[in-house]
């Protein structure tokens, strides 16, 4: 597929790197020659310098024969105009990164679609949704939904006293009866492995499981720590991510306190959000955190603009007794450190945005997609189409690559935990987990 990406910032380069590594022809457009030079050195992509909203520039970038345009500069209006121009050039699929929520209002949204923007992705909203899923499932390091949220992939740590420790996975089935989940990956000593029947779980393993969404809290209690409901949450920073998040949490009857450094901003946001307590102060001020009962919090989320401050706040909050800590980060370099310093989960606006965009761009038959923050692995949701190689054969006979595993088969409203003799039927949605080197092989099996 030929794809024009407008904007060589964090999101643009992340998407470009991903797409070109999968063999797509990507042309990266940006005004800034220095950024393009850097991208050219790091990525396998063509670059074109110029205003990505301009017809002439997009033509120069080969827009006339492109299948898709993804406009992700920092400026909403450039992204929107780039899509409109892309439509004029005959590009079929058009995605814009749009920050201003006013563009999402019902009438505005419709007019955007008419003008040529197929899909608007709001970075702050995507990050807030990711955080909300993590908050609502204490103990989870990652939460991704598949098949209209009927199936879910959750990352969690194996608890010291878990009953599943030391028993080969094959025996677990015998001990507990077939578990209604697939353990698709284990991160241990910074290695990601796909377990087999002989694998034994160890305390502290970071495992990823896929199964029916509603059973996840119970499955997590079996593998990890027991799960308690969430009532109180503290958030640092009153930026857009925090505001979206606060609205979601309040809707779920969770009490929210936001700490904001800027007095004027704190006042403004206090007026904007109902049922949320705004405090003026510093999120790394131990006395303030303590006075505001951070130790009683079921979750503590640091979502200020400054990533080092966020990490520091989380470390303090954990030290003072907050049950779960989540940090908003910009770069993924810090992710491997998070667990070591007591931070339970990290959310990156860039990755949340790129993931949301990628969900919609994938080849027709891929419905959903999630990339792990911690390792070079992905979970993909395929639609099994009639005539596709994977259909009507036992899974054992599909020669699925060694570094890949089928996590769940969603058939109508039923979520099937696959075994070797499970057969995929026409119309099933299949969730596959794969390490990077196995993705191509997996796509071959599940594409038509």
């Amino acid at each position: 597929m030929k794809i024009v990406v407008v904007g060589a910032g964090e999101v643009g380069t992340h998407i470009t790197s991903h797409l070109s590594s999968e063999g797509h022809d990507v042309i990266l457009v940006d005004n800034d020659a220095g950024r393009l030079q850097k991208a050219e050195n790091d990525l396998d992509a063509l670059t074109v310098q110029g205003n990505g909203a301009s017809l002439a520039v997009l033509e120069r970038a080969g827009g006339g024969s492109a299948d898709m345009i993804i406009a992700v500069t920092n400026v909403d209006e450039i992204n929107i105009v780039a899509c409109v121009t892309g439509k004029a050039l005959g590009i079929k699929r058009r995605v814009a990164r749009v920050k201003d929520v006013d563009y999402f209002a019902e009438r505005a949204g419709r007019s955007m679609q008419k003008a040529g923007v197929d899909l608007m992705v709001n970075p702050d909203l995507e990050a807030a949704l990711d955080i909300e899923r993590l908050v609502s499932l204490p103990g989870a390091t990652d939460v991704t939904d598949f098949g209209e949220a009927r199936a879910r992939m959750v990352g969690l740590y194996v608890a010291e006293n878990s009953e599943v420790i030391g028993t080969p996975l094959r025996e677990l089935d015998r001990k507990f009866g077939p578990l209604p989940v697939t353990i698709v990956a284990i991160l241990r000593n910074e290695e990601t492995m796909i377990p087999d029947g002989e694998t034994k779980l160890q305390p502290g393993d970071h495992v990823f499981v896929i199964g029916e969404s509603w059973l996840m809290p119970d499955v997590m209690g079996l593998i990890g720590e027991d799960i308690e409901p969430v009532h109180n949450v503290m958030v640092v920073g009153a930026g857009p991510v925090s505001r979206h998040l606060a609205r979601y949490l309040v809707r779920h009857k969770i009490k929210v306190k936001i700490i904001e450094e800027n007095a004027e901003k704190a006042r403004r946001v206090a007026a904007e959000l109902d049922h949320v307590m705004l405090l003026h102060g510093d999120g790394t001020d131990v006395e303030l955190l303590d006075a505001e009962d951070v130790g009683q919090m079921d979750a503590f989320i640091a979502a200020s603009n400054d990533e080092e401050t966020n990490i520091m706040s989380c470390v303090l909050a954990r030290h003072l007794g907050a049950k779960k800590t989540i940090s908003l980060i910009r770069r993924s370099n810090y992710v491997p450190l998070m667990h070591a310093v007591g931070i339970d989960a990290a959310v990156s606006v860039r990755l949340s945005t790129a993931t949301a965009i990628m969900k919609h761009f994938r080849k027709g038959e891929i419905l959903s997609f999630a990339q792990l923050k911690e390792s070079d692995a992905e979970a993909l949701e395929f639609l099994a189409q009639p005539g596709c190689r994977a259909v009507k054969k036992p899974l054992l006979k599909l020669s699925i690559p060694r570094n890949a595993v089928v996590g769940a088969v969603i058939r109508g409203t039923q979520v099937i935990v696959p075994r070797g003799d499970t057969q995929i039927m026409d119309g099933d949605r299949v969730v596959v987990f794969a390490l990077h080197d196995a993705i191509e092989g997996v796509e071959k099996i599940f594409s038509c």
């Binding site: 209209e148 009953e163 009866g177 578990l179 308690e228 409901p229 979520v415």
Partner: protein
């Protein structure tokens, strides 16, 4: 293999339940289990049901809910089936209100417990069973319907 039809006894089936909220529904279920001598500390069971529901709704879709509580106050794995006279809003995965409720309680040791939950979900994938359970007039007929589906799995 634990069979659902072995766990649910006719005295654990109530086909004419009235409940206007999740809490009222839980009370009906606990009452049913208590009458059969399956639960010891009612407030504890009730709290465990509420806590689990707060983590995530157990409305599994198509009008079915599976509220459950794991706690020492329920010494044996028990399942009761309640059919609501009026559909109840349950924040289900598909937003459909609930009429069929399988309420599960059991001790803290967990493997078998999760297996029963998964089995209920599996058995309820049968569209016929939904219709049968909504239509039956006697607990025994509900049990027979479940047994028939399980025999085919």
């Amino acid at each position: 293999m634990i069979l659902l039809s072995d766990l649910i006894r006719p005295e654990l089936i109530r086909l004419d339940v009235d409940a206007k909220s999740k809490e009222q529904l839980f009370d009906q279920g606990i009452d049913c289990l208590a009458a059969a001598g399956r639960v010891e500390d009612i407030p504890k069971i009730r709290q465990a049901l509420v806590d689990r529901e707060e983590v995530m709704s157990t409305g599994i879709g198509r009008g079915v809910a599976v509220p459950h509580a794991q706690c020492p106050a329920a010494p044996d794995l028990s399942v009761c089936l309640l059919r609501l006279r009026e559909p109840l809003d349950y924040e289900s995965v598909d937003d459909q209100p609930v009429r069929l409720v399988f309420l599960v309680t059991g001790p803290a040791a967990r493997g078998g417990f999760i297996r029963v939950l998964a089995r209920i979900s599996r058995v309820l994938c049968s569209e016929d069973l939904h219709q049968d359970l909504l239509g039956v007039e006697e607990p025994e007929s509900a049990l027979t319907a479940i047994r028939n589906v399980e025999a085919r799995l």
